[in-house]
Amino acid sequence: MVRCFLINTVCPVGALSAGESRVLYSRVFGPDVGAVSGQQQQLSPEERRLLQEEKLSVVARQVRSAVSLSREASGRLLVEAVPGEEALALQDADSGVVRLRAGDPFSEEMSALWLGVQSLGFVLVCEPHENLLLAEGTLRNLTRHCLEHVHLLGGGSEVLLKSSRIDVLLSRLLPHGQLLFLNHRFAQSLEKEVAAYMAK
């Protein structure tokens, strides 16, 4: 299953030091690992939350580096896309996988799939035996919907102020972190539900 989904910055941000990344949206699936696994039971809930946030920022930083190294190596120039060009932006996106070793930052090994669209990274952290082909398709699909429904290509702040839209998207397309084998008909009927929600 998918452990978490992130949207983070992969470009320099004024207030942050080089190489840092701002997490704009994050969703961790499943129970509080620290409480359930017993490894961090001596920690208070506040400390466990802090630890989890730190883990997410480790992932965000790793992805940020991966995206910039990959862009540097390919030497492709980024073409700025404007609202309405979501499909184009997605087509142009860079993508890759980062192997997260056991203990760095999760207790087991994970694979972080990333999609770099302009200045943002979209990340799925999966268990390594997961069907990555399916995960890749799901990540693209999610990213497309995020771009459209939270208007990420515009300069607005809807990703922060309408994050509930992303929650709804995830509840349909990646319920509780479960990757789904959806053919276009199943996908359509879920997307109809999503569209109905967004229209309100």
């Binding site: 994050s26 129970p31 302009q118 035996h129 990555l132 709804v168 479960q178 084998f181 929600y197």
Partner: protein, 820 residues
Amino acid sequence: MYSHGSESLIKQAREIQESELQKFYSRLVKLLQGKEIGHETVDSLQRLHLILSATKYTRTLPSELQKRLVPLLSSPSEQLQVLSSAVLRETLPLSGQEHNYNQEHFSQLNSHAAALLLSQTGSRADLSSLCAQLLRSLESRPSEGPSHTLTNTLPILNTILTHSPECLTEDNMTVLSKKLVDWLRYASITQGGGASSGGFFTGPRSRQPVPIAELDGSVSGDFFTVLCVGQGFTEDQWMNVYSFSMLRHWLLTYHSGSNGNTTADAANRLQLSLSLSHSHSFSNDDRSEVDGSVVSMVSATSSSSRLLPPKERLREKAFQYCQRLIEQCDRKAHKRTDTDLQKACLVEAVCILDCVCVEDASLVYRAFPCIKALYGRLSSDLSFARVLLPLAQFYLNHGEMAAVDCECVWKLVFSRFPAELFNDPFLAHELLRFLRVNLESLQLRVPQYTRSFPNLLKFLAWDSPAVVDDFVDLLPSLVTAGTAVELLHTLLDLPCLSATLVLQFRSTCLPISESGGRGLMSLDAFRSPSYRGLFLFLLRGEAGSGDTIDRLSTLHELLAEAADWPRVIQCTQTVPVLLHIFFNKVIMVADEKLLAHLILVQLERSGLLLNIPNYIKEIHRVFSCHLLRLCKLHPSLVVDQSHELLEFAGTTANVYSKEEIYTHVVWVLGEYLSVSCDSRCSVRLITSCFEALEAVLFEITSSAPPPGACRPAPRVITTLMSALAKLASRSHDLIPRVSLFLSKLRTVARGGSVPWCSDEEDLVAIVTRGEELWSLLKAPGVAQSVLTPPPHVTTPQWHRDTNVAMPLRLRLLTSLTHSQ
């Protein structure tokens, strides 16, 4: 895309004043007290979420507010469900209220409330009880709860299973296995009416049932799978999707669960199968195999599995499902997304087949015909590479047992994939993971593995940062006595390979007339027949055609312009790390002869590298470090290789161009060219070494450095002086020659500045060292014991002796306590 606006919002959310925050809270409480929840409330909730999530520290909400938020979880408006769930996930549950979110009806919670409850379960026990409830809800009749909650159940169960598989009891497993069989194998084969999840109006007034269709539009002739389409879907068809999506994980978890205690497990199975045969008449999951009319290949071949215990029955049904999926993937899908889904389904189906075959070896013989046919169909089409990897896994796990020839599979995995798909990041990740996970098995069964390193390293040369971690794990397995020398050369030329792959990529992407590649000398060279052999050697797929090539320097010249290509630079940064790993491993597998050869390669290659100054410097550093280690481990190597080492140390130019490694070679000669290290070390050898080093030291201290070179490092000079003193202490005839040199040095330095040393402090240090050595050599006996100490002095053991060590420890403790 990321605006200043967003940045300042985050800043505001983080820096909000406590008083302001309290005001915000109380306003929100007031809003929530109102009868209607309007736009303003929704907006405030979203802002509240931002405030809570923008900081990594936990903020505590006033209990009044928190209490008002909880009922929203079950509000009819999804927006309020989502928002309240998101807000509450960022806070801590009120003390004593952990279980307040209606745990008893957990199975009927909406998805957002369930997510909250799951994220706040405080212990494994809570998780177990959630699990039990969910399973109970599955057992009860479907009409009892709202239908959308049913689809939630499997993903939640799968999550719990991931984090804490021991939550499930044997009974739970049986229940779920039975349900999965139902959904996987016996979902409706007619289309659901318009509505997606069996709404109120469907059913009674439905017209003639329309059969489900395949992806190519034809009518489906067999049971429902995720690759079937219709205008709408029934609930059990949705459950089919959810069941298949979690099936592999379920089988894997459950396999590992039953692994531990095989006898007990077998007894359980026996008991289960007995109880099943008794309860056969009223067990509702024992439906007839197929409703009647439609029987395809897959169904026809299935044995009667009704009498199997639930786990085995699920295994059997999973097997049939996957076979049917593989059949269905032959069909041409109308939509591109469905074509992608077919590939993902193939991966999943093959993985599941592998998994059930691992559990029940008797299935291997039934699976192989299908696997072989699939392999035959896909192996020539590299766009299916990522499906072919799970197939390779299947061959690796079961090929031997079924006596199937796997040669062609390995050819594909080790030859074509790296050579042609080196630039696919996902394939690289999966292939390298495949190698890591199966390392032992591969080393045992696939002899090509170690020979394929020139090919495998293409992944590293192309995208070093992404895969270096995998190679850190894999490299040791590639180092054998047979591959070591060629592997070392290959690693050193990895940046060249990187550049060559870029050229290959460009020359296939851009036609010759295209302007993009014009002006690149290296691209012309790459296309020129006269250099073909050089590039082909770099691009070779297998080891064994020679350790390296003669015209390496030509190749380096041709690729000179690649020195600032980002991909090449990234590659140069990973090579030193890998070299360390290489040398650490090689000392474990190599004999002295091979180690001697490796020393020669280091000496030779230190001057034969792609011209990137930082790269050369780093490589010299690695070489120096390991040259020292090798010689320390096998001092007689120095006598063995004295000829080459002396040639290297006697070449003055090396002082300037290879300072680091030169220093180390000189030190090694001075240290280990001694009878105590190797009895073959003759006076003549010591004298010739002395003369070679003396000549160099004389040359660099008597004139200015050659044009273009910087001054020799003080460390080189002192190392040379020490080496000479050491050699002289072993052959006393040489002492007057050192002393003469050292006295001259002092005289020259007194005269003021010298052309070979600009820093006054350095010069003083050099002269001081000279004076020390000189006075030491005045007493040859002492000099020998200081400069060539016997081993019991350099590796003291006396601290291990209780009697000797006790006073030492006491003294140490005393000094520690007194210094406080």
